[in-house]
């Protein structure tokens, strides 16, 4: 009985068009080959998503997955992943969220949820007690996420009901819309919220009365206590997350000249001291918060105190928000960032992409390419708080300039024309996060080769470059870092661990074995990581992606940074192409970035090779 332990052994399947709900066993074979979360979700997605399908086609798969240690007391594993086709990039999309939803979903009796079809009217899904039903959501449609969560809880009369919901941004098919649970935790990047909106699915509410079993609970508890103490609480690599959380990165980014400032014009922000971790802790921090089962508790719950923003609160802002919605918009008032962050959260927008697209509009406005005629009369200069705080609502509701910006910078630049792609920083349509590659060149490769567009959570060479001891400007050795990071994070995201626990292979193997009873060593886990990264690459190859789309934005090449330690820096196209070639070679892919049949066969993926047997489309997984 391979799936007796760790897994619930069941997948919930919902066809919104046919209003049909079914339950099937989780594939034992795929669970062994791909673990859970990212890997298992990608394997189901490969099988079931028809290639080249529009992300908004009702047939597009929208799936939610947990992993084999989700819902145990393993520290820092209280997350779930949303898997779909990204409306921002057209690639495979895996987007992760913390909080409590994933665990409660698993307690409801399932490893995964696969939604297809489109409901006739606004609907929400109620999952409880190993069952599910599709319910009318006309009273929730148009409502912000906080209202949705509270309404469902009151309707159910149970404060422990957890809800994943979209805001107006998702309903309005904004390609930067996210899916939120517990008010402030988001499957943020890549526009999963818009896919949910395209299905007329407002929310998924869950409550669980089932339990997760492990083979030997006393052994498991002893191992967890040891891991929690030695590898989580006393691990120097986690220390900053425990004391400060992600805002601690503002200072080192600013000092090393990689803090995106005024739409990536500079890597140094004169107002950094007003949005950094010290300022946050001294002025707006109310308390620390944890996701389910997390001993780190990195979240900062903050609240405004000034006359203008008094009482406005948010779980955050995280580093990415402080940078993309702070310095990158020229905003040095942390309370304005709190307001912007809160509005993005409740209206359903990804703050990384929202910060990018607002900064893009600000630069066009300052350059006279956009005028007050296009900006709803707003004086959209960098740093103008009055205009800035209006933007989330305009974007989420697609009002005026908001409609132009609601699909991200790539599509906005295409609409504006006039060579404005020079003012965007994105790969495949997903905006850059907050580590400027002109000051940490490995990040250019990390963004270009991430399987979901520009993302910092697949490879993070900046840790060794700008934040570490390696030369941040040389391309040498950076491909190897990206390959190793991507292999490791593929395993980590398949166990659905949190980024902020610097877990390495030995403990990933130990945790996996302790929860599932499946023997695993470091090599076993590494092989699974390779298999998963090749699989997501294959999915993207099937969608038509290759070297041509693994790009470096023009801005990185043509526009030098201004000021600070990175003054005058660009990324040299030759350096970038060299890293890319090295990278493909290290993965065993061809020069065009296509996994070779030989490599795939070695990983047990031979049947999925581009020139191998075409995949049979089947409804049920084996």
């Amino acid at each position: 009985m391979a799936l007796q332990y760790g897994y619930m052994g069941k997948v919930l399947r919902v066809d919104l068009t046919k209003e049909r709900i079914s339950i099937e066993p989780t594939s034992e074979q795929w669970a062994k080959e791909f673990i859970g979360g990212k890997g298992l979700g990608a394997r189901y997605f490969y099988e079931e998503q028809r290639p080249k399908l529009d992300p908004f086609d009702p047939e597009t798969v929208l799936a939610f997955w947990t992993g084999p240690v989700t819902g145990t007391n393993a520290p820092v594993f209280g997350r779930h992943v949303v898997i779909t086709k990204s409306p921002a990039t057209g690639t495979f999309l895996d987007s992760y969220s913390g909080g409590f939803w994933g665990t409660e979903f698993k307690f409801a009796g399932f490893d995964g949820l696969i939604v297809t079809g489109k409901a006739k009217q606004p609907s929400y899904l109620w999952v409880h007690d190993g069952r599910a039903e599709i319910r009318d959501a006309s009273h929730l449609w148009g409502k912000p996420i906080d209202v949705v969560e509270e309404t469902v809880r009151k309707d159910e009369g149970d404060p422990r009901v957890r809800t994943s919901a979209i805001g107006p941004a998702g309903e309005n098919l904004s390609r930067i819309a996210l899916i939120t649970n517990e008010l402030y935790r988001h499957a943020g990047r890549g526009g999963a919220g818009a896919v949910m909106g395209s299905k007329n699915l407002k929310a998924i509410s869950v409550r669980g009365n089932k339990s997760v079993q492990v083979p030997d609970i006393d052994k498991f508890l002893a191992l967890m206590l040891e891991i929690q103490k030695k590898d989580v609480l006393d691990n120097p690599d986690n220390a900053a997350m425990i004391t400060d959380g992600t805002p601690i990165l503002v200072d080192p980014s600013n000092d090393t000249g990689i803090l995106p400032t005024r739409n990536f014009q500079s890597g140094t922000f004169e107002g950094a001291k007003r949005i950094n971790t010290e300022f946050l802790k001294q002025n707006v921090l109310v308390r620390r918060m944890a996701c389910f089962g997390c001993a780190i508790a990195c979240s900062s719950f903050t609240r405004g105190k000034s006359e203008r923003f008094k009482g406005v609160s948010v779980e955050g802002p995280e580093y990415e928000t402080l940078a993309m919605c702070g310095s990158n918009c020229g905003i040095d008032d942390i309370e304005a960032v709190i307001q912007f962050n809160r509005d993005c959260d409740f209206l359903g927008l990804d703050t990384i992409s929202a910060g990018n697209v607002v900064a893009f509009a600000m630069e066009l406005y300052e350059k006279g390419i956009l005028t007050k005629k296009e900006t709803n009369g707003l004086d959209l200069r960098f740093g103008n708080i009055d205009a800035y705080v209006e933007m989330p609502a305009l974007i989420a509701h697609r009002k005026g300039i908001g409609d132009l910006l609601a699909d991200g910078t790539k599509r906005a630049a295409e609409k504006v024309g006039k060579g404005t792609d020079l003012y965007t920083c994105e790969v495949k349509g997903l905006e850059y996060p907050a580590y400027d590659p002109r000051g940490s060149v490995g990040m250019a490769l990390a963004y270009a080769t991430s399987d979901r567009g520009a993302c910092h959570l697949r490879a993070w060479p900046v840790a060794q470059e700008a934040y570490g001891n390696l030369d941040p400007f040389t391309p040498e050795g950076k491909a190897a870092i990206c390959v190793e990071d991507q292999r490791r994070t593929s395993v980590k995201w398949s166990l659905v661990a949190c980024d902020f626990y610097a877990i390495l292979y030995p403990n990933m193997a130990a945790l996996y074995s302790a929860s599932t009873g499946v023997p695993a060593d470091v090599e076993h886990m590494q092989r699974i990581g390779e298999r998963i990264w090749n699989l997501t690459r294959l999915i993207n190859v099937r969608e038509g992606f290759s070297r041509k789309q693994d790009t470096l934005p023009r801005r990185m090449i043509e526009v030098p940074l201004k000021g600070g330690k990175t003054d005058g820096r660009t990324v040299k196209p030759d350096d970038f192409q060299k890293m890319l070639s090295d990278y493909y070679s290290l993965w065993g892919w061809d020069a065009n970035g296509i996994p070779t049949k030989k490599r795939l066969e070695a990983l047990g993926l031979g049947a999925l090779a581009p020139n191998g047997h075409p995949p049979k489309r089947r409804k049920k997984a084996g």
């Binding site: 007391n73 669980g208 339990s211 997760v212 967890m224 929690q228 308390r287 944890a290 609240r303 609160s313």
Partner: protein, 135 residues
Amino acid sequence: MPRLRKKTELCVGCDLCSMACSAHHSRSFNASDACILIDEAFPSPGAYKIRYCTQCVTHECVTACSFDAFKLNEELNVWVIDRALCVGCGACVTACPHDGAYMEPNGRYALKCDLCGGHPVCIDVCPKEVLSLTK
């Protein structure tokens, strides 16, 4: 007599206490199948509430039980629910004025802190040292 104490202001709402409790008493994991529960209230007031039985002297739960399911651990002076005798009627949950007794998620039996025989597992697992035992 040892009693469980809390410093609520240190709590981060991670539920590790509930999970350890669930594992100890039910030999599996479900955060609601626990004798210690964490509620959160965000964005306002932006705080957590920790619920568990305070082992009060009036023990309305015991009086309310018609099935003789409560047994006294004399060493600790703690009333313990015998799951074999509990029918899950919920009378103790309703009777408790301190919100210290709960129903198991499937309604099979009631849950109430028994101090794990003197060494509560929730204390060790709490990463923020919220919980402690008084002598």
